[in-house]
Symmetry: C2
Subunit: 364 residues, 2 copies
């Protein structure tokens, strides 16, 4: 989507799926796990969230090489109640563990109305929307959150203590496509920062601070001990609310599950040492499913969601501006287009994938 004047050669979905699943199998993932992980990873590329898709495949491989990912996890339920479960991901790929856990949430919701699953001992799970949207196939609302390694400073903190900690809600409608909101709890997602880094451009105000907590516009501030800022940017613009949101995601994902939290969450780059004195195991997620008809007859619910979506989509726009965007619309349009015309990859991503392929003798 973001070309910067660089040619992006496209790859077909089938070709990309074949390559990615081949890599996961070469890492030792069983066939079914490799398929689940591939669908989760490539969902990001289809939906236009290029920062979270195959551009990260080599990062997962390096984590596996460093012994930080278990390719053959024995995922299990540690504890459960009618509407809850805690799941031990056994160090597996979050791309495999989260869908496993989401299935448990959906099964619980089928019986108890809602299902809520906290996951420990996992790794990065890709985009939250992929997992939350699994509930849509069952006519349910899905919810997915995860904590992540600390690159965000709470309001008034010079230290990085939170990840970008995303939240996704996927809510079914009737004739309208579903409402799918998936967002980091920072002013700007890391992916957007990477785009400005590649461009050599400064960031807007409210995105970053330096190692002393001073607001800066240098897109490379994270390298020098700086931090991303919570949604809001500063206190006057509500950053304490963005901090609270990131904290809620961290607590639900980390403390409810027995995973790590705050500054102790394992880093994604394999070369970054693990934090010392970790209180829990791995990284944590919090997933949920709610049966619509545990609240209202599904038809009445769907009719109201359609009315909600149509009223907001047709709101009188700001003079000279775009229309109101219903969360999920741009990603769905990207997916429809890319399923037909293929997925554009930057030259640097092509090169990265080829290097990974050569390692395992898999051609792209």
């Amino acid at each position: 989507m973001h070309t910067f004047g660089v040619m992006e050669k496209r790859i077909t979905l089938l070709q990309l799926e074949k390559f990615v699943s081949g890599v996961f199998m070469a890492m030792g993932c069983p066939l079914d796990d490799a398929a689940v992980a591939t669908r989760a990873l490539v969902a990001a590329d289809l939906r236009g969230i290029d920062s979270h898709g195959v551009a990260r495949l080599s990062g997962y491989v390096r984590l596996w090489e460093a012994g930080r990912i278990n390719a053959r996890p024995e995922i299990r339920i540690l504890h459960e109640s009618p509407s809850t479960a805690v799941i031990d991901g056994d160090g597996g790929l979050g791309l495999v563990v989260a869908p496993w856990a989401m299935k448990v949430a959906i099964a619980k919701a089928g019986l108890a109305g809602t299902g809520w699953v906290a996951v420990c001992n996992s790794n990065h799970f890709g985009i939250a929307a992929h997992h939350a949207m699994m509930a849509l196939d069952h006519g349910m609302t899905g919810m997915a959150m995860t904590n992540a390694s600390a690159i965000v400073a709470p309001t008034f903190s010079a230290e990085r203590l939170l990840g970008t900690n995303p939240i996704c809600y996927a809510i079914p409608a009737g004739e309208e496509p579903p409402f799918v909101a998936d967002f980091a709890t920072t002013t700007a997602a890391n992916g957007k920062l990477e785009i400005l880094q590649r461009k050599g451009a400064d960031t807007p105000d409210g995105w970053l601070q330096d190692a002393h907590g001073k607001p800066v516009n240098d897109a490379h501030a994270l390298r020098n001990g700086g931090a991303l800022l919570p949604l809001g940017g500063d206190r006057e613009h509500g950053s304490h609310k963005g901090f609270a949101l990131g904290a809620i995601v961290d607590i639900l994902s980390g403390v409810f599950s027995g995973a790590n939290y705050g500054p102790w969450v394992p880093p994604f780059p394999a070369y970054v040492p693990m934090p010392e004195n970790q209180p829990g195991r791995g990284l944590g997620h919090f997933l949920g499913a709610m049966r619509v008809d545990a609240f209202r007859p599904a038809e009445a619910f769907r009719a109201d969601m359609d009315r909600w979506i149509r009223r907001f989509r047709t709101a009188r726009p700001v003079t000279g501006s775009e229309h109101v965007i219903i969360p999920g619309d741009p990603e769905r349009e990207s997916e429809a287009e890319r399923r037909v015309h293929g997925i554009p990859l930057l030259p640097v991503v092509w090169d990265d994938l080829r290097t990974v392929g050569e390692k395992f003798g898999i051609s792209l």
Copy 2:
């Protein structure tokens, strides 16, 4: 808390409770309901959220005079599953309906691990924290949201389609006091705007837009068709995330319950006409309770929450700045002080309460 050089005379908690419950009983509320409503309303004054406490009592009275509040509601469960319920508030005070519904959520959580209650046909419920914190007394995590009349414009909309739609999570700890985050999903809460209006001061950027959607700093912009902005302020600073949050609160509170949503939520000022073609009944809430030990042994959970809170509270602060504030700390400190020394009320609030008292023959 905000004096603007004006003398704030204090009132004791007991005196205020006696007066407020007298007013609710004069409106026709049964004794128990009056007590519940009084505790919910005065909780805002105790916690320092002065905009949502007794400063609004006359507003509730005017809604009752306009026939928009039922002082003797027959609250009932419309539908339920093991972990969910939908409740019809019968047009009662949200201050009465929400605690009733929260008790159902807590009872469900006791049996099913979690309980989730959508409420329709209600009215404004005061501060979300009061309801969410009911779960803490049972060693549970509480969650409360509500929609509200539309004074917020979604990103790219010139129209007001959402309320300030607050979210509260109350999470118990061990030796540390609980984590209680309660915040509007806008850059600035309406109460903060009112403070600037009284001061005659401009607002910071990112708080407001005018009737055409142009960003403005005039604290009175709402009077002329303007709108509050979602958390983030504008697209570049993540307002689409604040919009998504407000939308999620609106859908959970309105669409899940069968209440109104979006621009159809009933207004708080009794002189504002009801929106036409309302799709639902009254205003909606969404409340939840999660049993901590439905996830992990309570002691392990509490120890990790203590560690979380201590690590964040002692974070190295930004040079020359305050320390990191754990959500709930300022409100708890306010309550401790005001329980002892009484609650400061602005002269305009004293006058307003006296006028209400005269109406019912109750002296303050």
